[in-house]
């Protein structure tokens, strides 16, 4: 009797749920990391797209035809992203794919989308997604090159000559380190120490001690939560006086909750979303940012963050293209490639055949944390 029970329950688990038959609406695929270590990045992206679809369909969709988004979760794993992408590719109605959240999965499926001729608009940071350029592959997140060059600008203003660099060992941190190694020598900034920590590390005192030995003018920490918050706490406990610069990876409330007082005075480049109310009226992004952040906070009772912003831009780019050229993958690709001066949350996009990211370092605003809030750094 026991064996029967087991065989039955496994069979039940294997029974597939019949996919919903594609109705008339335009179908867009979306792959985000809503589980696993990087859920804090993927969840707001999925919520943003769900909000935007509701808003769009409430206004009658694109020229009267509703929009339907097929959400998949890749759990931050390249293999799972490939499985999801294969399911989307098999569905002929899918016009474009938004996401994935992370560089690894994006690189894994970029070839599939390129060969299958499906426009892919990734929300991940790594520059390798769009260089060498693949005609069908775009990305809306600011590249690490932009973030790093923004940090270097912020440092030049403070006349900083030597830096201690510490980064998370995961994809985000390693990509930041590679860009830093490439760009910092050009602007005369010497890196006197490079340290790394594991994503699940709970104590970075040893790394910070060896940075302190090198006695740099400033410290740069590149990673996504919760690592950088621990670096901030350990640094303040060690009494490190140098200014601490971090990456746009800490641009969410979780960082401030964890770091508490240690977050004071930390400078980092972030999408203008965080300081939307402070940016001057003349900036074209102002009302887009305010509309998005208020809409998101009303819908989900938590502040919007820049990762959600990447998904906002991706969705907008795709739906605008469909609106202009109709449901044809090749035309949509060409339309996105020719998009000029598109005011998004992550910045003002100017795509071209050679630049499938369309952003410059102006997409970032210099932000400082003071009084537990984000402020524009002078």
């Amino acid at each position: 009797m026991k064996r029967l029970l087991i065989v039955m329950c496994v069979a039940l688990a294997v029974g597939c749920i019949a996919g919903a038959a594609g109705a008339a609406p335009y179908v867009i695929g979306a792959i985000f990391s809503t589980t696993g270590d990087n859920a804090p990045l993927g969840v707001p992206e999925r919520e943003t797209v769900e909000m935007l679809v509701k808003q769009l369909n409430a206004k009658g969709g694109i020229k009267g035809r509703k929009v339907k988004v097929e959400f998949y979760d890749d759990g931050g794993k390249p293999e799972q992203a490939v499985q999801a992408c294969e399911k989307l590719r098999a569905n002929k109605d899918v016009l474009a794919i938004i996401g994935p959240t992370l560089s690894g999965p994006s690189l894994a499926i970029s070839d599939i989308c390129q060969k299958a001729g499906i426009p892919l608009v990734s929300c991940a940071a790594s520059i390798k997604i769009v260089s060498p350029v693949k005609s069908y592959v775009f990305k809306t997140a600011q590249s690490d090159t932009h973030a790093v060059s923004k940090v270097i600008d912020m440092m030049k203003r403070k006349k900083i000559k030597t830096v201690g660099f510490i980064h998370d060992a995961n994809a985000f941190g390693a990509s930041g380190r590679d860009e830093w190694k490439a760009l910092s020598p050009k602007s005369g900034i010497k890196t006197v120490a490079v340290e790394s920590f594991n994503t699940s590390d709970t104590d970075m005192t040893s790394q910070l001690t060896s940075i302190r030995k090198a006695n740099p003018d400033a410290i740069v920490c590149w990673g996504t939560n919760p690592g950088p918050a621990i670096v901030a706490k350990n640094a303040s406990r060690l009494g490190l006086k140098q200014p601490i610069y971090m990456s746009h990876g800490i641009a969410n409330q979780e960082f401030i909750n964890l770091a508490q007082r240690a977050a004071e005075g930390i400078l980092f480049p972030a999408g203008k979303l965080l300081v939307a109310n402070e940016i001057p009226k003349t900036d074209p992004q102002r009302n887009v940012l305010l509309a998005y952040s208020s809409g998101f906070t009303k819908a989900y009772k938590k502040p919007a963050n820049t990762f959600g912003g990447h998904a906002y831009d991706a969705f907008m780019l795709v739906t605008r293209a469909i609106g202009k050229v109709g449901p044809d993958r090749a035309k949509i690709r060409k339309e996105i490639e020719n998009t000029k001066a598109f005011v998004g949350v992550s910045g003002v996009f100017n795509f071209s055949a050679r630049d499938h990211n369309g952003l410059t370092k102006q997409a970032f605003a210099p932000v400082v944390i003071s009084g537990g809030k984000w402020r524009i750094a002078k």
């Binding site: 589980t35 696993g36 270590d37 859920a39 804090p40 060992a169 340290e195 790394s196 920590f197 594991n198 699940s200 590390d201 709970t202 104590d203 005192t205 040893s206 790394q207 001690t209 060896s210 302190r212 030995k213 939560n225 919760p226 918050a229 621990i230 706490k233 350990n234 406990r237 060690l238 009494g239 979780e254 909750n257 964890l258 508490q260 007082r261 537990g372």
Partner: protein, 299 residues
């Protein structure tokens, strides 16, 4: 902050993580002694304690959250004991290892499902609340800055270790457990229900783990996947100290914490995590019964 200050700071943070490795190692030894089983889910007990405390802390305050967290950990211990005891008749070492590995990843998945993936800040036991920030008291000790919570960690560790030592040495149940560990058949002869003893050993090990989780999470954070790393490092300490040997487990835990912290600071930080596992492999190859144990009789 010349060289000695930095070194002292490394030692302090090493001792803090070392204490947690020590308690997890003691948890491993308690369960190993009574069931010859390596309980892979030991790290998840620490996570359970930390997460329950973090989730309840704001709603109910520390007075209720902390005991509830330890109780939650013990409940998890009972459930794990049930899984391990179920196939006991035809249980080979392979089966039991696979069961505890399964339990470990299942608990981690459940924690992620119910409490989400974000890292939750936990209020220290003795916080200093200034202008809206919940900060932890710090005190300078021989050149290094030590936070109040770290002192709590060392204190609680000492208390827990002492309590478990006294329990196994002098209390009736403790001796019954040691009896059933060394000779299950003999223990049954004296009317000790070995099943109940195994259950009690899981509850104690889980309680210790949860208490460790509650105490250490304010130092950094509580997150659903913190259990795995702590469990593995704790196991390295348990093997370093000689499986089943309490004193060895405690000493080895602290040694491992300090060595890892100093090696990370002085040598190269990229491979800081690998230090514990390299030590594990060297120990397993050279002296499987651990550094601090007398060479066990070969028979």
């Amino acid at each position: 902050m010349e060289f000695t200050g930095q070194f002292a700071q490394l030692i302090v943070s090493g001792i803090t993580s070392g204490c947690i490795y020590a308690i997890v190692a003691v948890g491993f030894s308690i369960i190993y002694n009574s069931t010859q089983v390596i309980n892979f889910a030991q790290g998840e007990f620490v996570m359970a304690g930390a997460m329950i405390a973090a989730v309840l802390m704001d709603k109910t305050g520390p007075a209720i959250a902390l005991p509830l967290a330890v109780a939650g950990g013990c409940a998890l211990g009972v459930v794990t004991a049930m899984f391990v005891l179920a196939p006991l008749r035809k249980a080979s070492a392979v089966t039991l290892i696979i069961i505890t590995v399964g339990a470990s990843i299942m608990y981690r998945g459940l924690a992620q499902l119910f409490w989400g993936e974000t890292a939750i800040a936990v209020r220290p036991f003795t916080p200093v609340i200034e202008d809206g920030y919940v900060e932890d008291r710090t005190v300078r000790m021989f050149g290094a800055v030590v936070s109040g919570q770290e002192l709590w960690v060392v204190g609680v560790t000492a208390v827990l270790v002492l309590a478990s030592y006294l329990f196994f040495r002098y209390s009736l149940v403790g001796q019954a457990m040691r009896a059933s560990a060394s000779n299950p058949m003999g223990a049954r002869m004296c009317g000790i229900s070995v099943r109940k003893m195994i259950l009690v050993s899981f509850v104690i090990a889980a309680g210790l783990g949860a208490a460790a989780g509650v105490t250490v999470s304010p130092v950094f954070y509580a997150k659903c996947n913190m259990g795995t790393a702590l469990g593995l490092k704790g196991f390295c300490a348990a093997v370093l100290g000689g499986l089943g040997n309490f004193g060895g487990a405690i000493a080895a835990g602290i040694i491992l914490g300090v060595v890892e912290s100093v090696a990370g600071g002085m040598l190269w930080s990229d491979y800081k995590d690998a230090v514990a596992f390299v030590i594990l492999l060297v120990i397993l190859f050279v002296r499987p019964e651990g550094l601090l144990m007398r060479r066990k009789r070969a028979a």
